[in-house]
């Protein structure tokens, strides 16, 4: 059995990475580049649009071997198999025996990492099975849907020594990293407030069988912020959450529902059962989160109303404020005009995260399937480096579950008329001594 310590000792996976930052990228991004002492053997569970994006992104790194693929949809399986073969690798084994066949995959002896890109409620069970079988686990967001799952992920990771990686690529957006750098340099002064949101009209995604119809099911048994991690990930880094500060309380309020019913009626007719079936999930949800150090977060979630995609990002300190919707900023004493926004894009390039000086991002490749940009590739590079070097991942399991826990906590608050809900401390006190996130 392949536990992390043995793996690291035998180690030197992606050995070239150790020779210096500039060589890192070359080693991992160019198939046929420097040979890796030991390949990273990966199994995929869920290779629809998003899983395929991860698969093809991973295939762009040298030293990655895709050994096994699992999905309930044979079309997805064979498409993924073709991508693997086209990349010059041997045919992977396919797991197609129904919705729990991922258990067989996790039990294989020859895997180092299991990547999960399934519907949400499979994320935690698959990660836990993978770690218990001595594999690192990587999961699409959210890592968990319940507090019990959150704790079980933390405990399983700690007990087995396996990583539980949450694939939150938003933390690697260049703008988010620039803001992280500025926050850590004190440009905003003492940080006070941040806002963010997942405001994204996904009604057609829930109704179109070719997209992600499985998302619809959560409308029937949840009401809260069901997709917290994209906005909270970057904010948690800015705010040193679990690294000197931690989330304290959460309150959450939802609007009534109804927009999905109307949309279903429009797509499938008024006599479709979903056109009238009660859907508890409110069309729009807003949660407020306080930290023990006195910062606050406003978090929006709305995938049901007609609205162009917005992130609603905002970062505010005692010295200035950034507005994501405006892509503008004001820093007292630095911005040229009192009381007036200035452009963020060009005027603050000097604060681009130093991580980008160590990486030739032009060599990072974007995958095929559902996704865009190189942020996901950058995230994978960081994760591969951490696995290879035996270092802590940028987003440890405690972050993964802290960001995901907003889902069940917001549901509790909504159900109790906005009652404040205490945040669990998944670090068990280690937040007090853990230093801020450091990428270089």
């Amino acid at each position: 059995m392949n536990n992390r310590r043995q793996f690291l000792k035998a180690g030197n996976f992606l050995a070239a990475l150790k020779t210096g930052a500039a060589a890192d990228l070359q080693a991992v991004s160019a198939p046929g580049g420097p040979a890796l002492v030991r390949p990273l053997r990966i199994g995929f569970v869920g290779i629809g649009g998003r899983g395929t994006f991860h698969l093809t992104t991973c295939l762009s790194f040298g030293g990655v071997e895709i050994k096994a693929l699992c999905d309930i949809n044979p079309d997805y399986l064979h498409r993924a198999k073709r991508y693997v073969v086209e990349a010059g690798q041997p045919e992977p084994d396919l797991y197609d025996r129904g919705p729990s066949d991922w258990l067989r995959l996790c039990e294989r002896q020859d895997l180092d990492l299991v990547i999960t890109a399934t519907p949400w409620h499979y994320h935690a069970p698959i990660c836990i099975a993978a770690m218990k079988n001595g594999k690192h686990a990587a999961t699409e967001v959210p890592a968990a849907l319940t507090l019990d799952e959150c704790w079980e992920l933390v405990e399983t990771s700690e007990k087995t020594g396996m990583h539980c990686l949450m694939l939150e690529q938003a933390n690697y957006y260049p703008v988010m990293l620039r803001l992280l750098n500025m926050a850590q340099l004190g440009v905003f002064g003492d940080l006070l407030h941040a806002a963010g949101g997942y405001v994204h009209d996904l009604r057609f995604v829930k109704c179109d069988p070719a997209e992600e119809p499985w998302r619809m099911q959560y409308e029937f048994n949840h009401n809260g912020n069901l997709y917290s991690t994209h906005p909270i990930g970057p904010i948690a880094w800015w705010f040193n959450i679990n690294r000197g500060d931690r989330f304290d309380t959460l309150v959450s309020v939802s609007s009534r529902s109804g927009s999905n019913n109307s949309y279903v009626a429009m797509c499938y007719g008024e006599r479709h059962p979903y056109a009238t079936m009660p859907m508890p999930q409110g069309d729009s949800n807003t949660s407020l989160i306080s930290t023990v150090e006195g910062k606050t977060v406003t978090l929006h979630y709305d995938t049901n109303t007609p609205h162009p995609h917005t992130t609603e990002f905002r970062l505010q300190g005692a010295k200035g404020i950034y507005s994501g919707n405006l892509e503008k900023i004001f820093i007292e004493g630095r911005s040229p005009k009192a009381d007036q926004w200035e452009e963020f894009g060009d005027n603050y390039r000097e604060f681009d995260h130093p991580l980008f000086k160590t990486i030739d991002t032009s060599k990072l490749k974007t995958g095929r399937g559902h996704g865009h940009g190189i942020d996901t590739a950058l995230m994978w590079l960081r994760y591969f480096q951490a696995i290879q070097n035996g270092t802590q991942t940028d987003i440890p399991v405690t972050d993964a579950v802290t960001w995901s826990a907003i889902i069940p906590l917001s549901e509790r608050s909504v159900a109790a008329r906005g009652r404040p809900v205490d945040f669990p401390d998944f670090t068990r006190g280690r937040w007090k001594t853990t230093p801020p996130v450091k990428l270089v």
Binding site: L192, H193, D302, P308, N325, G418, P420
Partner: protein, 443 residues
């Protein structure tokens, strides 16, 4: 007693006629002369006074302020408008009582520091005058109920001068809602985010140093009515819907102290003040019809003034900050697999032209140039016109206290670790049957 019909008369007449209050105007009645006493003639009161003096049928006969020079300035302003020099009241903080006791006033306009709003309004109502108060109408839940009861008992009006309800965009959105373009309101995010550090510390002309004490003692949303007013009109609050409960959260306090240290030095007593008010407050308000509002309050941090207003309805959404709108079925929606770029915002301007409100079409050029982009003129114009024609003000006491009570309730929530707090139904059930604001009646 006032020469004007009181609200009960209007309601009775309306009921007899079987028509709604809004349509019970007597359009041919010649404007009566409205006799007004001003209490509080600092920067804000004097600004309102100037707007009043532009209107026909308004006599300002008394002005009151504890600062004599301000009284003199206000008297000059009235005199230079061609009216007789009004009587001045400057014998201390309580001299407003002598003013409201006069028998020759129809309405008191109240533009004092916040803590004086409710006491002066109550005194005016009890002396048989209508009163128009600056925002907020009250600072405590008790004051809110006292105002409601005084209005119901005396039959006189208490309106709140919420000028943002007359903002051009506010009324355009109201028109669009009534035209069915946006569907039904679900959510609004707005705020009063305005760097008032120098106003609070009185380092600028027309400073309002009395605000600082509120930042020392209180912690919540201290100034909710500007963003709430327009949203309440859009969401039919007290008129078909009502606020149910709120939760409120504040950040720590940093910016006022840092400002004082920078301005006055470490040793200045102002640099040693401890502020209870968190720099940024967020409050969520839920309505019984399933809508909600996310409301910011921040007058402490360095930031450009922001027209923060995001309004989400079942058929579309509007962003005041970006001057953009999206309407399902009208705005561009790309088909195809790119999730991120399907619905697309479009400019608000063409809609603004098409749905421009009659009040602005008729009086926009007259209002132009007045303070706050014309809305101060509009609010005074509407107030005076309604009273002269025997109609109730656009905003009544239930609106005034429902919007103002957000302050004390948010303080209660913040002080209790963001506990949710029920919002009183000041209408005592009447919200179910009160007609929605009719934009066509605002002329």
């Amino acid at each position: 007693m006032s020469a004007l019909p009181c609200r009960r008369d209007v309601l009775r007449t309306a009921a007899l006629a079987g028509v709604s209050v809004a349509s019970s105007a007597a359009p041919n009645a010649s404007p009566k002369v409205l006799r007004i006493g001003m209490v509080g003639v600092g920067g804000r009161g004097t600004g309102l006074l100037r707007q009043l003096l532009r209107l026909d049928g308004v006599n300002v006969t008394a002005v009151c302020d504890p600062i004599e020079s301000r009284v003199a300035r206000a008297q000059d302003v009235v005199a230079s408008a061609g009216q007789p020099r009004p009587d001045g009241y400057a014998r201390g903080d309580h001299d407003f009582r002598r003013l409201v006791d006069r028998n020759d006033l129809d309405m008191i306009v109240n533009a004092t520091p916040w803590q004086w709003h409710a006491p002066i309004s109550l005194a005016a109502l009890r002396s048989g005058k209508h009163v128009a108060t600056e925002v907020p109408a009250a600072l405590t839940v008790d004051e809110c109920w006292e105002l409601v009861e005084a209005v119901e008992r005396t039959g006189h009006y208490c309106t709140m001068l919420e000028n943002d309800c007359y903002d051009r965009e506010t009324l355009i959105i109201l028109n669009m809602l009534r035209a069915g373009l946006l569907g039904d309101p679900l959510f609004a995010e707005a705020g009063y985010c305005h760097d008032l550090r120098s106003v609070q510390f009185d380092t600028v002309p027309n400073g309002e140093p009395w605000r600082l004490d509120h930042s020392v003692r209180r912690n919540g949303n201290l100034y909710p009515t500007h963003p709430i007013g327009p949203i309440a009109w859009w969401m039919d609050i007290t008129r078909g819907d009502r606020f149910d409960f709120l939760v409120s959260m504040s950040t720590r306090s940093r910016s006022l102290r840092e400002f004082a240290i920078k301005q006055f030095g470490d040793d200045d007593p102002r640099a040693k003040l401890k502020f209870a008010q968190g720099d940024s407050n967020t409050t969520l308000i839920r309505t019984v019809q399933g809508r909600y509002i996310s409301l910011y309050f921040d007058t402490s941090t360095p930031r450009p003034k922001e027209e923060m207003m995001r309004f989400q309805c079942t058929k579309g959404c509007y962003s005041a900050l970006e001057k953009k709108i999206f309407i399902d079925g009208l705005s561009n929606r790309n088909e195809g697999p790119d999730w991120l770029h399907n619905p697309q915002f479009e400019a608000f301007e063409p809609y603004a032209k098409q749905y421009d409100h009659a009040l602005w079409k008729a009086r926009g050029s007259t209002a132009a140039g007045s303070e706050h982009g014309g809305i101060d003129y509009m609010e005074m114009y509407r107030l005076v016109k309604n009273l002269q024609t025997g109609l109730p003000p656009d905003m009544d006491i239930y609106d005034a206290v429902t919007w103002s009570v957000i302050s004390p309730l948010s303080e209660l929530s913040v002080a209790n670790r963001n506990r949710s707090v029920d919002i009183p139904d000041f209408t005592r059930g009447k919200w179910k049957h009160r007609p929605a604001i009719d934009p066509d009646a605002i002329l």
